[in-house]
Symmetry: C2
Subunit: 244 residues, 2 copies
Amino acid sequence: MISIVSLGPGGENEISPRAVQALEHSDVIIGYETYVDFLVPRFEHKKLIRSAMKQETERCRQAAELALSGRNVALVSGGDAGVYGMAGLMLEVLDTLEGNDIKVEIIPGITSACSAAAVLGAPLNHDFATVSLSDLLTPWELIEKRLTLAAEADFIICLYNPASRGRKDCLRRACEAVMTVRGGKTPSGWVRNAGREGQTHKILPLSELKDEELDMSCTVVIGNSETRVLNNRMVTPRGYKTKQ
Amino acid sequence: MISIVSLGPGGENEISPRAVQALEHSDVIIGYETYVDFLVPRFEHKKLIRSAMKQETERCRQAAELALSGRNVALVSGGDAGVYGMAGLMLEVLDTLEGNDIKVEIIPGITSACSAAAVLGAPLNHDFATVSLSDLLTPWELIEKRLTLAAEADFIICLYNPASRGRKDCLRRACEAVMTVRGGKTPSGWVRNAGREGQTHKILPLSELKDEELDMSCTVVIGNSETRVLNNRMVTPRGYKTKQ
């Protein structure tokens, strides 16, 4: 059996009891090293397997092998495992192992969009789109097209992976794509380490967001045409009709 | 002090310890009657205030008055309070009370998109857009425009509030808007009561989704151009470049 376990933002008090139960019932816990390290204090009596970044496919194969050998495996994923997480890849790898009878359960968690939004106020309170700025597996042209169409549709836009060492420029390019449609005064914000140690955030106009120095631990929210800053918090109203 | 507390999907084991702590520290718990009823077994020693649907503004005013009278108030919201929930309205109401010094914290939770996706497989594993089909506060023309642009951008689309007693027809119209861009064979699915008692789900092509009889307890996911059904689960790959 494989449990794909969402760990939420990273604080011990934001992981669900269901996720903790699955970890307790597992024989082996496998995941990206940072997440496994986070679990050490509570689960050091388990077999823990730390896997490196970019070894995701290998990690899923190892989880499958362990399950085939009769262990209960917990594959952990930060935030929600189903949002830019490990759930999809694990199901794809299992599909290649014909005739296996491995049981899989997916345990949801609090995704970064929600943990970051709670820090910024209530910016996601209407229709929103999430876009990852990582172009490792997605052509940049498609990312930019999505941003432009999301802006035209007046979606609130939540950016995952807004920057990394190899991609310094993509936040600026993303902001410029949105600004071709939406004004530079649009309330925007970023949160670093949302819901965990070292949490910081900033609310600023879209025109200034493009010059911020962000990294993989940050999540960005760009408001829609109705988003306002009230008492230093981003707030998107529930609807449009109240204005008429 | 007001804590805006996300209850997650509704099961006792999917509410975060941080949310439970906030409820324990409150003097009064106020919320939509269904959510307050859900809390009765654990919190019947608290003052519980059940509020009816469509009384959201009144509910927030009452929460503010209670806080001004010195109580610690927990305003509860299903799923994540920041996603079509109570967080935005509460901040808007507080903004109208000039000079108040009410402290507010927002506690995130597992939103329906994530709890429903975990039941269906891993459909949200790439960029996605959430759209509420409720036209109470948003003109239907804008909802339809968003669906069309989201389909053109190849976002996975998650529908909140796909139907209600007064809006039997909107799911069919939404599916037709997406089908003008994306094929009728696109893997889609719905979940009723995701993560709580009475959970059921169905995976089916987009062309058949439009005729399903859904209600407010359902969440819908429509795949992107890459979404596949593997072992009766919806799976969206992490990217596009692997195909090249």
